[in-house]
């Protein structure tokens, strides 16, 4: 075995990187590509590509278009799952509406009579539906914003997770607690992914790209 073969053997000890290891670099290049038309004065790039602060999974992206790093894409999927979980939670809550009397007696801390609760049931149901739909909209809004590289959405998602942590302890009934904890864990995983180094690089580059395009 000669010196070149030995060298090759030494070189083979280093494996190719896992795809996730290239996410940060891909995100930086994507940001540079997104800001290229303004910098290079090229006018032939489709307008849709420059309207976005950064490439996102929500766009009609072809295989050639660079995308957000894997942790952000996974976080977006988890947020969509969170929206589904919230919808399921809402359905369960409405299905068990018969128990709402006992639930609200404890939850609200008021000593309402059965007649009073019966009278307010339509209001309670309406509030539950509105709150549930608002939460679903919030999940979807956050998912869309983070996929576009909006850093404020990442921060707001973290704050909302904190608030959800306080709220999750206020549930009663096995099905509701299970659903609430599962949804909360989904949010926790999504927020954790949003603060991974590759995600941070993506948000940083998107912010820089946005600043570059600003007149």
């Amino acid at each position: 075995m000669n010196d070149m073969e030995l060298l090759r053997e030494l070189g083979q000890e280093t494996p190719l990187p896992a795809p996730a290891e290239l996410d940060a670099a891909r995100a930086r290049l994507a940001a540079a590509i997104a800001s290229a038309p303004a910098a290079a004065g090229l006018a032939t790039v489709p307008e849709v590509a420059t309207d976005q602060p950064c490439p996102s999974s929500g766009q009609p992206a072809g295989p050639l278009r660079p995308s957000a790093p894997a942790p952000v894409l996974t976080a977006v999927r988890l947020m969509h799952a969170g929206a589904v979980g919230t919808a399921v939670y809402l359905i369960i809550a409405l299905a068990f509406i018969g128990d709402i009397q006992a639930y609200h007696l404890r939850y609200l801390g008021h000593s309402l009579t059965a007649a009073q609760l019966s009278h307010q049931r339509p209001l309670i149901i309406t509030l539950a539906i509105v709150t549930g739909l608002a939460l679903i909209a919030l999940w979807l809004w956050m998912a869309r914003a983070v996929s576009q590289g909006r850093n404020w959405a990442r921060i707001l998602s973290t704050v909302l997770l904190g608030l959800a942590t306080l709220e999750v302890t206020g549930n009663h009934g096995v099905a509701q607690v299970f659903c609430a904890v599962l949804t909360w864990l989904t949010g926790l995983a999504a927020v954790w992914l949003l603060w991974r180094p590759a995600s941070s690089a993506f948000f940083r580059q998107c912010r820089q790209a946005a600043l570059t395009r600003r007149p």
Partner: protein, 196 residues
Amino acid sequence: MRSSAADDAAVIESSWREPERFAVLFDRHAPHIHRYLARRADRQVADDLVAETFLAAFAKRHRYDLGHPDARPWLYGIATNLLGQHRRDEVRQYRIRRAAAAESEVPGHAERVAADVTAQAMRTLLDAALAALPAGDRDVLLLIAWEQLTYQEVSRALAIPVGTVRSRLHRARTKVRQALAGTDAAATYEEITTNE
């Protein structure tokens, strides 16, 4: 890895009009450029430099010579230039590998243990020899040995004449052979690999 579907030059040319096309070049070559950088510096430095390499390439894509279908030499050249700012990291990397090899234990069958220990000793010597090489010689040697570039491709990558590539490679190999020759490890390793 050689370019496959569409050649690199065509991709770069199309990226002049459609910048997002440049992502194809990243997907095609980034893993190999990253591994090249990780071999020579640590992975953290490689993570950063692979991004810098493609950012620099993207910024300079209008100056790419479309007469060369394969963009690898161009990319390796940029990566090697960027690595020049991390020479200390690179030399430290060889020292770390040397130290790690010296400390590691090899359990197992006696002959296999002897072979593995000797192989580790050879790696240690190689790492020491690489660390001692002049940067220019090391660039040529590793682009050829690790990245399988031809003399012409290395010439393009480093913007030096082919004759200089040959002389640098010859000088580097001589020094590496000298570092390996005359050691017990080299003799034993040669014997073991010949008998296998």
